[in-house]
């Protein structure tokens, strides 16, 4: 078996139907082609899953992996993604968090774990270095995520990292989320429901093996260089450490009230920013409550327009409850908003809503949350997620503001920025900007986009057309390159939040990858691997029936102006054409061309898609 640097060197598969545990050595071709993290997950998932399986059936595959930089001193090397077929969209889904069990799995010797099949009774997977076991979890089933984690720490020791589900995941709430360390949420796309469908209550891991790097001297010099870059941005870092996501939106919030609740800061592994926080409620009905909140500003932003959630202590309480139940707080708030809209629109009555009617105060909202998490009465309907509710309630179709089933209220009107909003449509997981965050969240001059393009490796021949438009950018074309860069960040195991992404330019990625792994790849080769991952994810969705017509903003999110260009149902076609063209995809169908796939070394996938011609 080859000795790897950067990587742990092995992939793990746990088949819960058969109780079989397989360990496969990593090979260098896989490392080069897919880098790690979500790249490994995408390839393993694509190969193991049969087309057309129900996301909540044993045939679905749950994949979690770390990157080659994960668990090292490379700043912010803590993020990991959990990937599967989403029970909300029926297409590929994923969610990331900072305290995922993936990093501890790496210390135990595994770069990646794929969970296949389903158990016939509740189980959890425990990994302790070379020992991998499937254990009975009947004593944990029914407990919330905080209780489950505490029970596993009691049972196994606190050195174990735990990722688990709560009552929402057990009941297959379609937006259930796995939770790590009682706060760190892999929030979106319903990965917790997939765990629940496999009767997988938790994965717990402890590893005592070390991660080695190929070139020690170069690696440590790069760590110093990266840290210097963070120090040079100390004003921005301090803003984020103090306000987190609110740093860019302070004018909309009462920051004094926020700081009254905020206790200490809190970081993920190797992170010099620390934009997570202990939230300590000192007064009122929750006085004495203290808990850890991942990026509290995102929760305040999400609830900013929600009646009943205008007090910040209520938002924190809601977040705590959602985390305990193990469900996506963003989707949860979207469902509360949808429920209220349907009630106001007289599409649902008080009787339909178990007597709740308008949930516009903290008590009724918390009641709805509980009903959803336990699928009680009316909650059973809301637990199905936005698309299914809007399809089921007569006359509600226009209330569906999801993109491929993933609620996307944040994109309304384009307030998140140009690529940030456009990427909601082009992201394979739908409805979120986590692969399209660039610098376009506020107006910039063209020169800024030219400089930025160089930092993310936009080829010189493309810069002119990427940095062209009324506001200095061509939104669809720039989005294509941002997506590849963000995919590379995810493959490496790094954080993508703005103060971090600004430090990690393509040169730093390239140098770090070589120093860690000893595998020399150019910047363009690394980005090509990220592009390969992106294309493979698209091909998965196409294999599941996705067509060009799925790449749309719902009416409820329009109109909007992105990069100075109006986006409407009519203009969306030409914007998509530009995006597909920049991707090298067939403009008519939105599918990667055979030439593109072969060029990326995905001959097997091209062949499979060729076989589908005429079937759609």
């Amino acid at each position: 078996m080859k000795d790897f640097y950067g990587y742990a060197g092995a992939l793990l598969e746990v088949n819960l139907s058969e109780g079989i545990i397989r360990k496969t050595p990593l090979d260098e071709e896989m490392a080069r082609n897919y880098i790690g993290g979500v790249g490994f997950s995408t390839r393993v998932f694509y190969d193991l899953i049969e087309p057309g399986v129900d996301p909540l059936s044993p045939g679905n595959v749950l994949a979690v992996g770390s990157g080659p930089l994960s668990g090292t001193l490379a700043p912010t090397s803590a993020r990991a993604e959990i990937l599967s077929k989403s029970p909300l969209s029926g297409f590929i889904g994923w969610a990331n968090n900072g305290w995922s069990v993936a990093n501890m799995l790496k210390y135990a010797g595994y770069d990646h774990i794929a969970v296949t099949g389903a158990a016939d009774r509740p189980v959890y997977i425990v990994v302790s270095d070379d020992d991998v076991e499937i254990r009975d979890a009947s004593h944990l089933w029914g407990r919330d995520t905080f209780e489950t984690t505490a029970a596993l720490w009691e049972e196994l020791g606190k050195e174990f990292w735990v990722t688990c589900i709560g009552p929402a995941g057990e009941r297959l709430v379609r937006f259930a989320s796995p939770i790590s360390r009682q706060h760190s949420t892999a929030a979106r796309t319903g990965m917790g429901a997939v765990m629940g469908s496999k009767k997988l209550k938790a994965i717990a891991a402890r590893g005592t093996k070390g991660v080695k790097v190929a070139d020690k001297k170069r690696f440590l010099a790069l760590c110093e260089e990266a840290n210097k870059r963070f120090e040079a941005r100390h004003n921005l870092v301090n803003e984020w450490r103090t306000y987190g996501f609110l740093a860019g939106f302070k004018q909309f919030f009462n920051t004094e009230e926020f700081l009254k609740l905020k206790g200490g800061y809190y970081a993920c592994l190797s992170c010099p920013v620390a934009d997570n926080a202990w939230m300590n409620i000192k007064e009122g009905k929750y006085a004495g409550s203290s808990y850890l909140c991942s990026a509290p500003g995102t929760k305040l932003l999400t609830c900013a327009n929600t009646p009943g959630l205008q007090e910040y202590d209520e938002v924190m309480k809601l977040t705590e409850l959602a985390n305990r139940y193990g469900m996506d707080v963003f989707s949860t708030v979207a469902m509360v908003t949808l429920s209220n809209a349907l009630y106001k629109g007289e599409l649902l009555s008080k009787k339909d809503t178990d007597g709740i009617g308008l949930a516009d105060n903290p008590e009724s909202i918390q009641t709805l949350l509980r009903k959803i998490a336990y699928r009680e009465g009316y909650g059973d309907l809301l637990a199905e997620g936005m698309r299914r509710v809007c399809a089921q309630v007569k006359g509600a179709a226009d209330y569906d503001t999801s993109i491929r089933g993933i609620d996307a209220d944040g994109a309304k009107g384009g307030m998140l920025g140009a690529t940030e909003t456009f990427g909601h449509v082009t992201s394979h997981r739908g409805g979120m900007m986590e692969r399209s965050t660039s610098i376009s969240f506020r107006p910039r001059k063209r020169e800024s986009y030219v400089t930025y393009s160089a930092t993310i490796g936009v080829p010189e021949e493309a810069v002119e057309r990427v940095c062209e438009g009324p506001e200095g950018l061509n939104t669809p074309r720039l989005t294509r390159y941002v997506e590849d860069m963000q995919t590379l960040i995810a493959c490496q195991g790094l954080c993508r939040r703005p103060p971090v992404a600004q430090v990690w330019d393509i040169g730093l990625h390239t140098d770090f990858y070589a120093a860690a792994t000893g595998i020399e790849m150019t910047s363009q080769e690394l980005l090509r691997s990220a592009e390969r991952v992106w294309n493979l994810q698209r091909c998965f969705n196409i294999r599941e029936g996705l067509t060009r017509k799925d790449d749309r903003f719902p009416k409820g999110l329009l109109p909007m102006t992105l990069g100075g260009v109006e986006v409407s149902e009519d203009s969306m076609d030409s914007l998509l054409n530009e995006y597909y063209e920049e991707r090298g995809w067939d403009v008519e169908t939105g599918r990667p061309t055979r030439e593109k796939l072969v060029g990326l070394g995905l001959q097997d996938v091209a062949k499979e898609l060729d076989g589908m011609v005429g079937k759609q």
Binding site: T72, Y107, K209, G210, K216, Y265, C268, S270, C271, P272
Partner: protein, 72 residues
């Protein structure tokens, strides 16, 4: 030799101290291989201790950007 002083209230939990320690003494990264230990205490923060093998070399304090470990 200056002593390492711990200010737990400033600890972010980033474990950079542990990664520097494990790397310095074992040439590999893993917080569990470090001579400085950090325990997550729900609702409170972090408890920091040193194992008996720690020689107080202070590599951890040299690299704490949060001021949770200082030399006095």
């Amino acid at each position: 030799m200056p002593a390492i002083v711990v200010h737990e209230e400033k600890c972010s939990g980033c474990q950079t101290c542990q990664l520097w320690c494990s790397y310095t003494f074992t040439n590999a990264f893993n917080p569990l291989m470090a001579y400085i230990r950090q325990e997550f205490v729900p609702g409170q923060g972090f408890k920091i201790t040193f194992t008996e093998d720690c020689n107080q070399c202070a590599i951890c304090a040299d690299h704490c950007v949060y001021g949770a470990l200082t030399l006095e």
